[in-house]
């Protein structure tokens, strides 16, 4: 099918995979690609299926150094539980100029606050977010869901079965976080008991409808969301 004269090294394969992937890859996903390619292409391709995750991590480390040492403008970052190939930060201004991203849309303060509350307290009800912020978060929450930084993770058992919200993989990617644990004071803020206050839970019809679809999707996509989705209990 494709006749290759020289087989690549593991490091090269990993570089190519990180380059082609649309999201950060874990060593596990890389290993799976090696195994699957071995199975479907056979012959000399099979030998790469032997590599263990440790070999892959070592090769990533090597690749990381090479990319920096030969000043390619690229680097490997650990983001959202995986590895991501990205440009070196100090080249950012030129990339932004090229892509016309000089006016990057930043999140507003209320949006960041809402995100922070969700990140620490997920899974969390809208009413709980509101009782911390002391103001309605309808619109802000809707925007965050639209931007795919927040998603519905399930429904609470409370009357009316209100939605529970959590952060997404994309949230970690957007902020370049390796995992939620990287947020400051995670342990402390996670544990704190929400302040009690009469809850206003007014109906949320438009959004409910929109979200209805996404939860269904979310359920099927559950496996991409490796980490934070699980801890819904």
């Amino acid at each position: 099918m494709s006749n290759i004269e020289v087989l690549p090294e593991l490091k090269q394969i990993i570089g190519a995979l990180l380059f082609a992937a649309k999201k950060p890859l874990t060593s596990r996903e890389i290993r799976k690609a090696l195994v699957d390619a071995g199975a479907s292409y056979g012959g000399p391709y099979q030998q790469f299926a032997e590599f263990k995750e440790d070999d892959i991590l070592a090769a990533i480390e090597e690749l990381k150094n090479e990319l920096v040492q030969s000043s390619t403008g690229l680097c490997i970052a650990e983001v959202a539980h995986g590895f991501r190939l990205q440009n070196e930060i100090n080249c950012g201004p030129w990339v932004r100029t090229l892509l016309d991203k000089d006016q990057t849309a930043r999140l507003s303060k209320p949006a960041l606050e809402t995100l922070a509350i969700i990140a620490y307290r997920q899974p969390i009800l809208r009413s709980e977010i509101e009782s911390v912020r002391g103001v309605a978060v309808d619109q802000v929450l809707r925007n965050l869901v639209e931007m795919q930084l927040v998603r519905v993770t399930g429904r609470s058992e409370l009357p009316g079965r209100p939605w529970l919200f959590g952060t997404t993989q994309r949230f970690l990617e957007h902020f370049g976080l390796r995992s939620l644990e990287e947020m400051p004071g995670m342990e402390e803020l996670k544990r704190m008991v929400p302040v009690e206050k009469p809850e206003r839970t007014k109906p949320f019809p438009a959004m409910e409808k929109e979200l209805e679809q996404q939860t269904q999707q979310a359920v099927t996509e559950e496996e991409d969301e490796s980490g934070e989705a699980e801890e819904a209990d």
Binding site: N90, G92, R106, S108, I117, V132, G134, V135, E146, K197
Partner: protein, 261 residues
């Protein structure tokens, strides 16, 4: 009410949804006055709170009922602080005997999240320089939040407050003065900030002798921010607020290709 006279007569409504809540306003006032969050001078803060609230109502900002609820709470706390200890009524045993305590606890908790939000904001600016292949991950969709990332609505109102304070309360000639309109001020603002010329709010209001004119101008600023034509920024907390035109601020036509397939 006297202040109501300040409203432009065309009943202009900016209806800028205020995403900040009463807790934000309280924290803002506490920070501004540099008072101890654990020992809030409730009388002074309540007065200021009411002043801001009144301005927000006058400006027709869409404030949530939460602001009113908080005003009531502040009043209750204030009145209870005036009572001698034994008449304050039942207080939770384990809580401190201070009527401010619930509020303080809520503010302190909220402030922690605000700080965490600051951390996220910092990460976001770092990530602005990071792109994955084909510049993909940065796309949050074409949804720039209204151009007030660096300035809170309370900063703006504070500027308005200062400007209003400079003008004598009752100026007889104001009654006969020319009437100003918001749309007039919108045009004027766009002209004044043309070619990326920044303008500080202080300078903007300078020389205005009529409170009515100040309010109209302020509403015009809000309107343009809401339309994403102007952005407001403030380099450091409580610095002068600068407004400038958003580059390419004309709303982009949205192409709905997919739906037509």
């Amino acid at each position: 009410m006297y202040m109501a006279d300040l409203l432009p007569n065309e009943e202009y409504k900016v209806s800028l949804e205020v995403f900040e809540g009463p807790l934000d306003l309280l924290l803002y006032l506490i920070k501004k006055d540099e008072v101890d969050i654990y020992d809030i001078p409730i009388g002074r803060i309540t007065t200021q709170y009411m002043e801001y609230l009144e301005l927000m109502k006058i400006l027709n900002l869409e404030i949530a009922g939460d602001f009113i609820v908080m005003a009531a709470t502040l009043m209750v706390i204030k009145s209870r602080l005036l009572l001698p200890d034994e008449e304050r009524g039942p207080v939770d045993e384990d809580d401190e005997d201070d009527p401010r305590w619930d509020l303080v606890r809520q503010l302190v908790e909220y402030k922690k999240f605000k700080d965490a939000a600051g951390f996220l904001g910092h990460l976001e600016t770092v990530q602005e320089n990071v792109f994955s292949r084909e510049g993909e991950h940065v796309e949050l969709g074409v949804r720039p939040d209204i151009g007030m990332q660096d300035v809170s609505i309370f900063d703006l109102i504070s500027a308005l407050n200062q400007a209003l304070d400079r003008v004598p309360r009752e100026e007889l000639n104001e009654i006969f003065a020319e009437q100003f309109t918001v749309s007039e001020k919108v045009d004027w603002l766009l002209e004044a900030t043309k070619n990326g010329k920044p303008l500080t709010l202080g300078r903007l209001f300078r020389g205005m002798r009529s409170r009515h004119e100040i309010v109209c101008t302020f509403l015009a600023v809000l309107e343009l921010i809401k339309l994403n034509r102007l952005a407001a920024r403030q380099d450091n907390h409580f610095d002068e607020i600068v407004i400038e035109q958003v580059e390419g601020g004309e709303p982009e036509p949205v192409l709905q290709e997919k739906e037509t397939v």
